[in-house]
């Protein structure tokens, strides 16, 4: 018997101090599932980076996390500006974050690279002016 559980989060776009609440909540659920700490760590970091990106660039969005027998799938979708050059955005240190965001310690250009680094699969669907949907998978 295989069963999948889905968790949905709404990410508020105008509050930096609250960014990270969704990944923190998800992390605690994964602990209750008794998953390996390495898997939990990967999901928590990748999801946190995605969550921060949504707040910085896209005025928030939605995250859906599905936990199945074999993998954890995170789908982060927003209706933000989209990513004009995905290849460039994937480079470590490349950031388009505003100066005031950087002054808070964000926008170091490690978001997308970290999301790729900590997940087993990552796919970016983006349209400039329409929004971005990122699908990440971490195998269990």
């Amino acid at each position: 018997m295989s069963q999948a559980l889905t968790f949905r989060y709404e990410i508020d776009g105008d509050d930096f101090t609250r960014a990270g609440e969704a990944s923190s909540s998800m992390k605690n659920k994964l602990k209750q599932l008794g998953l390996d700490s390495d898997v939990i760590r990967k999901v928590a970091i990748a999801m946190y980076e995605g969550e921060i990106n949504m707040v910085i660039h896209a005025d928030g969005g939605k995250i859906t996390v599905t936990v199945s027998d074999t993998e954890i799938t995170m789908v982060l979708s927003d209706t933000g500006p989209g990513i004009p050059d995905v290849e460039k955005a994937m480079q470590e240190g490349y950031s388009t974050a505003r100066a005031e965001v950087r002054s808070l310690g964000f926008g170091a250009g490690m978001g997308l690279p970290n999301m790729k680094k900590y997940t087993d699969e990552m796919q970016i669907d983006t349209t400039v002016g329409r929004g971005t949907t990122i699908t990440m998978k971490v195998y269990i």
Binding site: L5, G20, S24, K31, Q32, L33, I45, Y48
Partner: protein
């Protein structure tokens, strides 16, 4: 499973417990439930932080520790005073006044925990230097911090500093010296720690990181404090020079003291259970960068804020600073303590997944589905009336088989309202004298039976005495 693994040193005084929800709301690991009008502490969730002791308005949470009379159980006793003991006294300028008073009180010798703390500081400096690439390290001196990480932060277990706590190092040195000095047998020597908190009581019985502690008994600062007063001589020429610790060692009693002894700049020192939980979350998420050392104290203010102390934590912290003002930085060195064979942990601390819902991932996943379903049905007020701290914890308890949906008074109220409506509907459609159809009669009976069952469970505790007493 070792039954001692989740030993705790907070006990419920059942006669004093009124079944209010103060403790369940303040417990940082959601380890307490109120069932049948009494609080119950769940052993495996409890980290011995002592917060429920501070918050219980009815003083029903009692710290467990040994009476001072334990010194009569041994031929020779050594007192290990925590540095926070000194901070209890006003205008104390010399630790020897306290140490000499301890001898007058009946101890045969003293060994300051602060002296051992300086050895731990030295060992930590060396360890950090040798393992720089594995930083940050999390201090392991507070037993509640170690327990918290062990049950809640699996990815941080490996970051715990694998060095014995100062009190353990003190106990080992004190025992070795007493054996040498007296020629007595091991069991004839009592190593007695004068502690600021009950967490160390659990530690002495079931230490983490080592097999067995060298501490025999743990007594409370608040018990010893008044007894020393009449023995405290302020004529310093009459005092035997016993104190052998400097600024670093005594400074361990305050939050930031341990980190201060490492002589590194990139550290974080947090105190108070709420703050340390936040730091641990952030460390786990790798949000804190560039740190070498993380000092965490469960009690606000550090050890001076322990529940077995007398003085206000912040006043005590200032007194510590005053006491050490003219002291040298450190008076103890590892090289001078050959009796200490190994200052490092012998065992690894293992993650204990006590908050896992089921026994396997698959079972947990299934249970979590039910938890989510149930949580959605509850009002989300986290009112605590059910005896669980939040609606989510009630749902988890139900799925684990430890509670029922009707423990939620809102669910119960809705069920009763629904049944009342159904009964009302049936009785409205048939006035007095008119007979009910067989079907209506059957339904009415069923509804009334269901209603009385619901009402029977409504706030009426089951016969007391059936449940196992908590102690």
């Amino acid at each position: 499973m070792n039954t001692n693994k989740f030993i705790r040193s907070v006990r419920l005084k059942e006669s004093a417990c009124r079944g209010c929800i103060n403790c369940i709301k303040h417990c940082p690991t959601q380890a307490i439930r109120v069932h049948n009008g009494k609080a119950h502490i769940i052993d495996r969730f409890c980290i011995d932080c002592g917060r429920c002791i501070s918050y219980c308005p009815h003083h029903a949470k009692i710290p467990v520790y040994d009476p001072l009379s334990v010194i009569n159980n041994f031929k020779y006793t050594v007192a290990l005073p925590a540095p926070s003991l000194y901070a209890q006294y006003n205008n104390l300028t010399n630790a020897d006044i306290v140490l000499n008073a301890l001898l007058k009180l009946g101890f045969d010798d003293v060994y300051e925990v602060s002296a051992a703390a300086e050895l731990v500081s030295e060992a930590t400096r060396e360890y950090i230097k040798a393992h720089a690439e594995e930083a940050p390290f999390i201090s392991s001196a507070c037993p509640s911090v170690v327990r918290l990480i062990r049950v809640k932060f699996p990815s941080l277990v490996s970051r715990l500093l694998p060095i014995k706590a100062p009190v353990e190092v003190a106990a080992e040195i004190a025992r070795a010296r007493a054996l040498e000095k007296t020629g007595l047998k091991l069991e004839e020597i009592g190593i007695i720690f004068i502690s600021p908190c009950p967490s160390k009581v659990s530690y002495a019985k079931a230490p983490l990181g080592i097999e067995k502690s060298s501490i025999d008994n743990v007594v409370a600062i608040k018990d010893v404090y008044p007894l020393l007063l009449p023995h405290m001589k302020h004529d310093e020429s009459q005092l035997e020079p016993l104190s052998a610790s400097g600024r670093i060692g005594i400074g361990w009693s305050n939050a930031g003291g341990e980190a201060g002894g490492l002589l590194v700049d990139n550290y974080l020192a947090a105190d108070g259970i709420v703050n340390i939980l936040q730091v641990l979350e952030e460390l786990e998420d790798e949000k804190l960068h560039g740190l070498t050392f993380v000092e965490l104290n469960t009690c606000s203010g550090g050890c001076v804020g322990g529940t077995l102390t007398v003085e206000n934590a912040y006043i005590a912290a200032a007194k510590t600073k005053r006491l050490v003002r003219y002291q040298p930085v450190s008076k103890n060195h590892l090289a001078d303590n050959p009796e200490l064979t190994n200052i490092c942990w012998a065992d690894n601390v293992e993650y204990e997944p006590v908050f896992r819902l089921g026994n396997t991932f698959r079972e947990s996943l299934q249970m979590m589905g039910k938890v989510e379903e149930l949580t959605a049905r509850f009002p989300g007020l986290d009112c605590g009336s059910c005896g669980a701290p939040t609606c989510q914890t009630l749902a988890e308890d139900i799925v684990r088989g430890d509670a029922t949906e009707n423990d939620c008074i809102y669910v119960l109220r809705a069920n009763i309202a629904d049944l009342s409506r159904k009964i009302g509907h049936l009785t409205d459609s048939s006035g007095p004298g008119t007979s009910l159809s067989e079907e209506e009669d059957r339904l009415l009976h069923r509804y009334i039976k269901e209603l009385t069952t619901e009402l029977a469970s409504f706030g009426v505790p089951e016969t007391p005495g059936k449940e196992e007493p908590v102690s």
